[in-house]
């Protein structure tokens, strides 16, 4: 790509009858992630009619309404279940799930691991801001140990999930992690994810200053992006670091890259086979 595909392209995918700017807070990483998603759909030359965005509840869930695809804003935690029904019924559609960390890992944790196990052809974006933003800053299953939130006012005692590791363990075909600070890399990760058969998951570490940063010694949204710049480390380099080097960093990049056929592919192949037997 010689030219940056930027916001003039994105504007073509936004719903012009919706009120902008969107409802999210200043500096929220979710807008950047949505931008990356739109750019990757554009790069792949997908038709708007063939793209379905299925969103859960929370800040991430609010994104769906702004984009001019087929959009379904579902219930809390269950986006993957609706997406599964849509994908099985219409396998030619590109089905993309937009979920937050509380959405995908707490109330929807069961659906995430089963979608991965089933290897259904859905691309899941987990926008991880380590907090319940929409409901006012309660701790989430990815809130790091020791962090503060409305419901862990004395410091979180529980450990947070490693989202990528969880998806890997559950059998996802493609697992990657990016951040809102590394937007260009995010484009590439999403393009790979969208091209993969079966279940692909991209975790996007996306800062929430309003609900998380303020309570955890970040001076402003910019401060959080600086933290991302400092601590997000390419997975290859991260692996070479010793324990102390890894301590305040987290790996980004591609963790799993398999090509097993998706469930819908196998199911329709089975149907074909049975039809052959019938005639």
């Amino acid at each position: 790509m010689s030219e940056v595909i930027g916001n003039h392209i994105i504007h073509k995918y936004l719903r012009h009858n919706k009120k902008f700017p969107h409802v999210l807070c200043p500096g929220c990483g979710h807008g950047i992630a949505l931008g990356a998603l739109i750019r990757s759909v554009h790069c792949l030359g997908l038709e708007k009619d063939d793209v379905v965005i299925v969103a859960g509840i929370g800040c991430s869930g609010r994104l769906a309404v702004y984009v001019d695809f087929n959009t379904v804003h579902t219930t809390h935690g269950r986006a993957l279940t609706f997406a599964t029904g849509i994908k099985m019924a219409k396998p030619h559609l590109k089905v993309i799930c937009l979920m937050g960390d509380g959405d995908a890992l707490s109330i929807g944790g069961n659906h995430l691991i089963h979608a991965a196990r089933r290897n259904i052809g859905i691309t899941a974006l987990v926008l991880n801001n380590n907090i319940y933003g929409m409901t006012g800053g309660q701790c989430s299953p990815t809130t790091p140990h020791g962090s503060f939130s409305m419901t862990s006012p004395y410091g979180q005692l529980e450990k947070g999930f490693d989202v990528a590791e969880l998806a890997r363990a559950a059998g996802a075909n493609f697992v990657a992690r990016g951040t809102s600070f590394h937007a260009q890399q995010l484009d590439k990760l999403l393009i790979q994810a969208l091209q993969h058969p079966g279940f692909s998951m991209v975790e996007v570490v996306s800062p929430c200053h309003t609900q998380y940063g303020r309570k955890n010694k970040f001076k402003g949204a910019v401060d959080m992006y600086k933290w991302l710049k400092k601590s997000a480390t390419p997975v290859e380099r991260y692996a070479e670091l010793d324990e102390t080097g890894q301590k305040d960093r987290f790996p980004i990049g591609v963790f799993v890259d398999n090509d097993a056929p998706g469930l819908e592919e196998q199911y329709y192949a089975l149907k074909e086979k049975m039809r052959g037997r019938k005639s």
């Binding site: 930027g6 916001n7 003039h8 936004l14 700017p21 999210l24 200043p26 931008g35 809102s180 910019v222």
Partner: protein, 73 residues
């Protein structure tokens, strides 16, 4: 990606800008500043190297960077 200085035009839509300051903080050429109302404003457009960071990282899709169209000599 980066290009010669002086060839880029940076447009900011103030209506959409929420003043988060990401573009200001990370612009390598210090092209953008926050104005008195807390919104991003282009102050040194001639220094822009067209890296695209501000455009890609504006959470509100409020910045567009384009090449300056010049009449052929």
């Amino acid at each position: 990606m980066a290009k010669e200085k002086g060839n880029s035009k940076v447009t900011i839509y103030p209506d959409w800008c929420k003043g988060c300051g990401i573009c200001v903080a990370f612009c390598p050429a210090k092209v953008i500043e926050l104005d008195g109302q807390g919104k991003a404003r282009v102050v040194r457009e001639e220094d822009c190297i067209h890296c695209g960071f501000c455009e890609l990282h504006c959470p509100d899709f409020a910045i567009v960077v384009t090449e300056i169209e010049r009449c052929p000599k």
